[in-house]
Symmetry: C2
Subunit: 183 residues, 2 copies
């Protein structure tokens, strides 16, 4: 579990990346940066920092930071009670992001999985996103992503976001950091 001090250090580091991308945030947004460690306690390899601009029942927009080679683990957004799962568009703003989705396996992919978690990464169709490039992920589709060596800032535009319903390939994953932060 991350300590408050660790979380604050990660937030400060995330702000450096928002600055590099020239993303202007309010003080409240900086204070509220979400640090997701996915319950694995290894944020250097597996983690994500994000600001949620808006999330209502119709649409959602977030600004995500990935530190160099940091990975958001493989997951999908399933349909719930007959309603299609979250569909999302990733747009790279800074650095480089490698996105992996279902489809033909890319030979010699640019990324490695976090060590010890190889079995929880099953889709290997690689999409490279430079600043200004974007990709839309259909709902209920397995995907994961990782930053290149300079880290990445990635905008996410999507339908309503409900982290609780995400299904991760790695059953150890928990999306609880937000709760701990607010205790």
């Amino acid at each position: 579990m991350l300590t408050i001090t660790q979380i604050n250090e990660i937030k400060m580091k995330a702000i450096e990346y928002y600055d590099k991308a020239h993303i202007v945030l309010t003080d409240d947004e900086k204070n509220d940066i979400e640090v997701a460690d996915f319950g694995l306690g290894d944020t250097q390899n597996t983690g994500l920092q994000l600001v949620v601009y808006i999330n209502n029942d119709r649409y959602c927009a977030k600004e995500m930071v990935l530190f160099p080679h940091q990975t958001c683990p493989e997951h999908r957004h399933p349909s719930i009670e007959g309603k299609s799962g979250k569909q999302e568009t990733f747009r790279c703003r800074y650095g480089k992001a490698y996105l992996y989705v279902e489809g033909e396996e890319t030979e010699n992919p640019s990324c490695k999985t976090p060590e010890g978690s190889e079995e929880f990464y099953t889709v290997w169709h690689e999409i490279e996103l430079y600043p200004g490039q974007q990709y839309t992920i259909a709902s209920d589709t397995l995907h994961w992503f990782q930053a290149g060596g300079d880290g990445a800032v990635v905008s996410e535009f999507s339908s309503h976001s409900d982290d609780d319903s995400d299904i991760f390939t790695d059953a150890r994953v928990r999306r609880i950091t937000k709760i701990l932060q607010n205790m």
Copy 2:
């Protein structure tokens, strides 16, 4: 009606503002910048430049440019066939944007309407948006917006966008520039 030369000049000028906001666009996006003159042929006062990142049946994201004191005229997004009209969140990225919505009239508002169009601006509750600030407009709510003296770059996150269904207070308004550009 704008000529191709005029449209290209406006696009080049819009690119300067995207650059000021450090928004990275692909060459295709730069070519496809939409120049909306709203059929009034007076883009210096009434107009909008925009890039549509994504617009599907669930969500939409755009990056808009307003030149100094340029105005997007008053309109609303009505419900259609029982489906709620477009809801949208404006987030200022560069410059300053003044948004006017239904509600208590602001005394001494910062903006004037485009000359000769005063009667077509009926809502005067002012919201000032500096970079990093945002505001969400409920569906079917009258609104209009204008840039400050340095122009503005504004991100729009929303539900599905369908320009054809917009209802403008000024019945002369036509949203046809896009079609002319593609002829």
